[in-house]
């Protein structure tokens, strides 16, 4: 069994709470965090990372809003047993995120196939999840 690590880069331009969010979503995608599984409390996670409580709280709250996490008063933070679905709203959001991204690739002269290949690789990597780590 491989161990799930959350990795935060303190020199990156991406804010820490964004990084934390991505790390948790990746872990859920890779099935390293299973539906219903518990996550550390805000205080416990913030203490282990050594950052402000608000930073962790912000990441958790946004993940809750997006439907990845449930925050119970008693049971603490758990991975949502009913993962978020792809609705019309999400589709719109996805296209909105992809459009500038692909535009960026295109203006740099990246070929369509290369871009699709990268997508393919990442998909496979995430799907294989646990075994590949």
């Amino acid at each position: 069994m491989s161990i799930l690590y959350l990795q935060l880069d303190f020199e990156s331009d991406t804010p820490i709470y964004e990084q934390l969010k991505s790390e948790i979503i990746i872990a859920i995608a890779k099935k390293q965090l299973l539906p219903g599984e518990r996550l550390p409390s805000v205080r416990a996670l913030a203490s282990d990372i050594g950052i402000n409580l608000h930073t962790v709280n912000k990441a958790y709250q946004q993940l809750k809003q997006e439907g990845f996490l449930l925050i119970h008063r008693q049971r603490g933070v758990v991975v949502n047993p009913d993962p978020p679905i792809i609705d019309e709203q999400y589709k719109q959001q996805l296209l909105q995120t992809l459009r500038p991204l692909i535009a960026n690739c295109l203006s740099r002269g990246m070929e369509r196939n290369l871009f699709l290949q990268h997508c393919e690789t990442i998909y496979t990597e995430l799907e294989e999840g646990d075994h590949n780590d």
Binding site: Q7, L8, L33, A44, S47
Partner: protein
């Protein structure tokens, strides 16, 4: 009397052991309180620094012991006790005096090396770390607690057998001070044992709660080392609590059965000896954060932990108000220390000191 003289030499050796070899026991991501990349730990100039520090303190220790032996030939016991305590204090001051130049030198080297610009500063944590068994459970402490309870009940039953004068204090030279046979004086030892057991339970809790520190360069190894480190000290703590409880129980029984008195010294000597030996053995086999536990090495990542040197005052005191953690691993030492920017750290230290000083006084007044 001669035994107490020897036990002082043993204590000097123990203090020296736990301080002079400290540079060798820290994590390999630190040298004299300054964080470094793990790969730099074995640099020849760093090795030389560690050796210098160690050799100097060992020389001081040996000369102090010779001084003490010489003093024993000419001086009174009371003078010797004073000399002994001052020698220990001077030793501790000297250790700090030897440490500081190395600490500053390391800071300078670090500034010119710019490690934290070459490597990627990352923090790695395992969100399921606390699901692991990190400590031996606190309910085990029911065992020493029951021992104290049994001894106390036994004392209560045999209360009449206890003489009118009971020992309440033993000096370093074995001179015993006696006190009235009051309830407080008779139950002084069991209550001290209870305070100690509660303190151990609390320390066990600290071992569990302390901040997770996983090396970014080799996460798998350091994670395992960290777990082993906590488990071993937690187990040691429990064994120590049982040993001390047994020792206190034996001393309590000497109140009732004076025929046991001749064995008192040997029991104390064995128990204290075992504990000191255990501390040294554990420190050298495990190292700080488990850094000396040999595990299958993994490929080293080109990463370094986030540089938090500015929060480590003199490389020894952690003061970081952005970190909600209360208990963190010591930098230059074995075990854990507090985040002094956290108000709870100060409250805890005041409560513990207050209990340690206040409770014995309160019990004796009963």
């Amino acid at each position: 009397m001669i035994k107490f003289y020897y036990s002082m030499i043993v204590i000097m050796f123990f203090v020296n052991f736990s301080i002079a070899f400290m540079p060798y026991l820290t994590r390999k991501t630190e040298n004299f309180g300054v964080s470094i990349p793990e790969s730099a730990y074995d640099r020849p100039d760093f090795k030389a620094m560690r050796k210098k520090y160690s050799v100097r303190l060992n020389i001081v220790n040996i000369s102090f012991i010779l001084l003490f032996i010489a003093g024993n030939l000419y001086l009174q016991e009371n003078t010797l006790t004073i000399i002994f305590s001052s020698l220990i204090v001077i030793y501790l001051l000297l250790s700090l005096l030897f440490y500081l130049p190395f600490h500053h030198e390391m800071k300078k080297i670090k500034q010119s090396e710019k490690w934290h610009e070459q490597y990627n500063q990352t923090i790695i944590i395992d969100p399921k770390f606390r699901v692991e068994k990190l400590i031996y459970p606190n309910y085990l402490y029911v065992i020493p607690f029951l021992i104290v309870l049994i001894v106390s009940v036994f004392t209560w039953i045999k209360f009449d057998l206890i003489p009118e004068q009971v020992p309440i204090h033993t000096s370093f030279f074995g001179e015993v001070t006696y006190g009235e046979k009051t309830f407080g004086n008779v139950f002084l030892l069991p209550s001290t044992a209870l305070i100690l057991i509660s303190l151990f339970v609390f320390v066990n809790y600290i071992i569990k709660q302390a901040k997770q520190q996983i090396s970014a360069a080799n996460p798998n190894v350091s994670r395992k080392q960290n777990i082993i480190f906590r488990r071993r000290w937690s187990l040691f703590l429990f064994v120590m609590s049982v040993l001390l409880t047994l020792m206190f129980s034996f001393l309590q029984l000497t109140l009732i059965y004076q025929t046991l008195l001749p064995y008192q010294e040997i029991v104390i000597f064995i128990v204290v000896g075992l504990i000191l030996f255990g501390v040294i053995l554990l420190s050298f086999t495990t190292g700080q954060g488990g850094s000396r536990v040999k595990l299958l090495q993994e490929e080293e990542q080109q990463k370094i932990e986030r540089d938090d040197d500015r929060y480590w005052k003199l490389g020894q005191f952690y003061v970081n108000k952005n970190d909600p953690a209360i208990f963190v691993e010591k930098r230059f030492g074995i075990g854990w220390t507090n985040n002094w920017a956290h108000p709870l750290s100060w409250i805890l230290i005041i409560v513990i000191l207050g209990l340690a000083i206040g409770l014995p006084i309160f019990i004796q007044s009963l």
